[in-house]
């Protein structure tokens, strides 16, 4: 609390200019707020949330749980073992969906997983199996798991197992397949399935042995923090992070008792994949967001995830409830001859990186990314500056060098999103909209405003009910 009467006051002013002008004429220091009428949420709901006496403390609790979370790589093992994925069940990215509502790349990935698991011999048979309801579908997020793009995870797939050393909580993600025609982008051809088998038969066991043999588990939070200082933002750019991971794991990998050729192939595979780290970064962010749990009164976002059809948002104050709306289609640059008409709507759990405060929120750390939309370095800085205005805290562990090593903008506040009208900035890959295509580009996207409108209404309703 500052003493109002101790001297001529400096002032922050929101509203009509005439007051600011009069204050400046008197020599007072005035900071103008560039206030806009909120376009998300009703005035009543925004006021209800603003006045909720639980909010400040609840948001503090929520964001501090995020900042306190740490992530270490403790194991690599099949999904059937670590998350109990059994029978004909497939996990997918984003909020829950059905085969009927699934987009092209999601269908392609689900079909590919059925082929990989041997539940079907042909794409047609896989399609039939899925269309007949022969495979149970569920969100990765419901199983402490996150998956990039389609995020399709099947029982035999090997998973990164990330553990918070302070409380033993875990989060999981499958192994990254590389770029181009890959399952997560909706491709399901023979080369995709062959690669998945190699990852399961060769790479998974070698990584497991390597990870288990390390004297200390790999500090993945530390890698993420370092890569932000090396030109990565941890979502669309994972180059430094992938190399650091390779550097950290290589000594253990080469020491694994396995054929030399297999070890060489594993190292070559990791080294050739700029996004190898993404599948470690995502469960690291998931661990942090899962630490929050249900915090009544909090307006902090705990999940941003897309399934290729819908975008889903969850908040600490409303727990497991999804607020969904049709996903936007990213804007960006395209590989080869692909164009905007080839892009599928936004897909993937990888927006967990932005939920955690990196990715698009740390655009300033990776100015290369704004060039996807023809942006410049100042645009990158401006993006991160805006994200500070919709978040609750700066994460001292994740620093952005060009901003004077300021901490990453962390803990998206639904109320601030509604009041500023600035939606979270997400960096993303783009999958082809036709099943089987694979990646067509990469770019930038935002959630639909409707998700936040629903979240505001639900949080306000809960607030009224709780406060009576």
């Amino acid at each position: 609390m500052t003493n109002l009467l101790s001297g001529p006051p400096a002032v922050v002013a929101a509203g009509v200019d005439v007051f600011s002008d009069a204050l400046r004429a008197q020599g007072a220091a005035v900071t103008d707020v560039e206030w806009r009428p909120p376009t998300i949420g009703s005035a009543d709901d925004l006021t209800q949330l603003a006045l909720d006496p639980r909010r400040a403390a609840a948001n503090r609790v929520a964001v501090e749980r995020v900042l306190a979370s740490r992530s270490t790589l403790t194991d690599v093992a099949p999904a059937s073992e670590v998350i109990g994925l059994t029978g004909r069940t497939l996990l997918h990215s984003g909020p829950p969906l059905s085969w009927e509502t699934a987009s092209g790349p999601m269908r392609g990935a689900l079909m590919g997983a059925c082929l990989f698991e041997g539940w079907a011999d042909t794409p047609e048979a896989a399609e039939q199996l899925l269309a007949s309801g022969g495979v149970a579908l569920d969100s990765c997020h419901h199983h402490r798991t996150v998956g990039p793009m389609a995020g399709v995870t099947s029982p035999s797939m090997w998973m990164w197992c990330l553990t918070d050393p302070t409380d033993g909580r875990q989060a999981f993600s499958n192994l990254n397949e590389g770029l181009g025609k890959v399952l997560r982008m909706g491709a399901y051809g023979p080369e995709v399935v062959t690669r998945l088998h190699w990852m399961t038969d060769v790479m998974g066991p070698i990584l497991q042995a390597a990870v288990r043999s390390r004297p200390e588990p790999l500090d993945v939070t530390g890698v993420l923090a370092q890569m932000l200082q090396m030109g990565d933002e941890g979502h669309n750019r994972n180059r430094a992070g992938s190399l650091m991971t390779l550097r950290e794991l290589s000594p253990s990998i080469v020491a694994v008792d396995a054929p030399k050729d297999d070890i060489a192939e594993v190292l070559r595979f990791i080294g050739g994949n700029e996004h190898f780290f993404l599948n470690l970064g995502m469960p690291t962010a998931k661990l942090a967001m899962d630490a929050v749990g249900h915090v009544p009164g909090s307006t902090m976002v705990t999940t941003l995830a897309r399934n290729g059809t819908e975008f889903g948002v969850r908040t600490a104050g409303t727990g497991d409830r999804w607020f969904t709306a049709p996903a936007n289609t990213p804007v960006g640059l395209f590989l080869g001859d692909y164009g905007p008409e080839d892009a599928n709507p936004d897909i993937g759990d990888s927006a967990i990186m932005e939920t955690y405060g990196v990715g698009g929120f740390c655009m300033a750390a990776a100015p290369a990314i704004v060039r996807f939309v023809g942006g410049t370095v100042p645009d990158a800085l401006a993006t991160t500056e805006r994200m500070y205005q919709i978040t609750l805290q700066e994460n001292p562990a994740m620093q952005v060098p060009i901003l004077g090593f300021r901490g990453a903008p962390t803990g998206i506040d639904v109320l601030s999103v509604a009041r500023t009208g600035w939606l979270p900035q997400i960096n993303t890959g783009m999958a082809g909209r036709v099943a089987g295509t694979g990646q067509v580009g990469a770019g930038l996207v935002q959630p639909p405003a409707s998700c936040f409108e629903q979240a505001v209404a639900a949080l306000a309703e809960e607030s009224r009910a709780a406060l009576g």
């Binding site: 609390m1 922050v12 008197q26 206030w35 009543d44 006045l51 640059l333 100042p378």
Partner: protein, 493 residues
């Protein structure tokens, strides 16, 4: 895939360059820029990785065998050789183009909360956004441990109460909502006058009342330490004086404040009692200029305070206007911009004239509704919330009041016209200029309460002289102006 199928008649270029590295994003941008040229049908500028070679093959533009991942692949197809050559030149230009350097313009804050987070030393926020959104901004300030002045009106009373309770717990002050006037350490906030610094601290549930009192104190050579507005509803039974009590304690702890004076429209009796109880516990002498039938006169309250302080009561400035005849049977027409000044005029006039009807009546049965042309004694508050929806306050925009004056002149009812003109920051830069044409040729007397100081941007004397030259009788004291108007009416009987 988009794009056309390979056509053997097209011009093609496939080359590999060594020793050239560019980021894949940069290269995708180059491909996009060159692909946008009319004559270009396909383009891939990329490092010759297996993935990109596969893409090139799909486009029918494979390089010779032996491409290495550290080589730059330039693969183009154009409608003819000239376009192809131009495209290759464009690739080179795009590859070497320099981008804008870092350093973003600062992004302005969009919320009070964010602005205060950046401005840790700032003790005060001023909110004048539309009423339905004001509480969210004000709550940002309270949550950040800063005081806040809410100029906005239209804030529901239950939100005002919640905001003020939170402020009390945070140890900060909420001035308002609908607080038009405050002065903090000499800085005028909203509608306020340029008054000398002095020992009297005002707590004001009334904007124009505070302006009248602070201007008179200035004219008496006393001056004010602070004027803390609390909003017109603060002393209602519902709000219970939440901000008034906090403001009293704040001033009690302020070294510059030696006297505390409360200025208010008539408060709820139980709240007045509670305020008196708190005031009695203060170490600083307290007096009240709250209006009531028993205490109808702000000027008298100021004079009483001056006497307590041992200061001579000055002769309050006046200017004589034209000696117009008072028409027989004249009634009082008080057209006010200041709500408290209107209340004061009614309280002063009622004993002499009997009932005065108003849109802000002393008793509900005197409610005028929207009929400002009604006959008889009438006082209209043009600054009332109901009349400022969608338009500026009459201290800025005189249109409604000028229309009413014109209506009065046209109606022919015998009258004495009583007006207030409020000077200071935020007010019309030259109110006399707008008023003079409307009153110069009226066939009946016009009396103006001119609330301001010589230090105001408009200058009390400059405005007074301009009004007097138009035949208007000018008083620095509203109660004196009202009594003069009453005397004119009485003399006509």
């Amino acid at each position: 895939m988009s794009g056309s199928a390979p056509d053997p008649t097209d011009a093609r270029h496939v080359s590999l360059r060594s020793g050239v590295y560019a980021d894949s994003v940069k290269l995708m941008q180059v491909s996009k820029a060159v692909g946008g040229r009319d004559g270009v049908t396909a383009v891939l500028v990329a490092m010759a990785t297996p993935l990109n070679l596969e893409l090139a093959a799909g486009m029918g533009l494979s390089p010779d065998a032996g491409a290495k991942p550290d080589q730059l692949l330039i693969a183009l197809r154009a409608v003819d050789e000239a376009e192809l050559a131009a495209a290759i030149t464009a690739v080179d230009a795009a590859l070497t183009a320099r981008e804008e350097r870092g350093s973003a313009d600062a992004i302005p804050p969009r919320t009070v909360g964010f602005a205060l987070g950046e401005q840790q030393e700032t003790p005060l926020a001023i909110i004048s956004v539309p009423g339905p959104y004001a509480v969210a901004e004000a709550m940002d300030a309270v949550a950040a441990g800063r005081s806040v002045l809410v100029f906005s009106d239209g804030v529901p009373v239950e939100h005002e109460i919640a905001l003020k309770r939170a402020a009390h717990e945070a140890g900060v002050l909420v001035m308002g909502p609908d607080c038009g006037t405050a002065i903090v350490s000499g800085v005028a906030l909203g509608f306020a006058n340029v008054v000398r610094p002095g020992p009297v601290g005002l707590v004001a549930a009334s904007g124009t009342g505070a302006q009248q009192v602070s201007c008179l104190l200035d004219m008496a050579g006393v001056g004010v330490s602070h004027v803390l507005g609390v909003g017109g509803r603060d002393l209602s039974a519902a709000v219970g004086g939440l901000a008034t009590l906090d403001a009293l304690r704040m001033l009690d702890g302020d070294a510059a404040t030696e006297r505390v004076l409360l200025v208010s429209k008539p408060p709820a009796p139980e709240v007045a009692e509670q305020v008196a109880g708190t005031a009695a516990e203060l170490g600083t002498p307290f007096s009240s200029a709250a209006l009531s039938a028993a205490s109808p006169d702000l000027t008298a309250s100021v004079e009483a305070l001056l006497q307590e302080m041992g200061v001579d009561v000055p002769t309050w400035p006046t200017r004589a206007g034209a000696d117009r005849a008072v028409p027989a049977g004249a009634v009082l027409k008080g057209f006010y911009s200041g709500g408290t000044l209107a209340d004061e005029a009614m309280l002063v006039a009622a004993p002499a004239l009997g009932d005065v009807r108003s849109n802000t009546p002393l008793r509900p049965e005197l409610d005028l509704g929207a009929d400002f042309g009604a006959t008889g004694h009438v006082v209209v508050d043009f600054g009332d919330d109901a009349l400022t929806v969608g338009r500026a306050h009459p201290m800025i925009d005189p249109t409604l009041r000028l229309e009413a004056i014109a209506g009065l002149a046209a109606g022919g009812e015998p009258a004495v016209l009583l007006l207030d003109v409020v000077l200071g920051y935020g007010a019309d830069p030259d109110p006399a200029a707008a008023l003079v044409p409307a009153v110069r040729d009226l066939p009946f007397p016009v009396v103006v309460a001119l609330v301001g100081t010589e230090g105001d941007p408009q200058g009390w004397s400059r405005q007074a002289d301009a009004l007097a030259a138009a035949g208007v009788h000018v008083f620095a004291s509203n109660s004196a102006a009202t009594r003069y108007a009453i005397d004119l009416i009485g003399a006509s009987k």
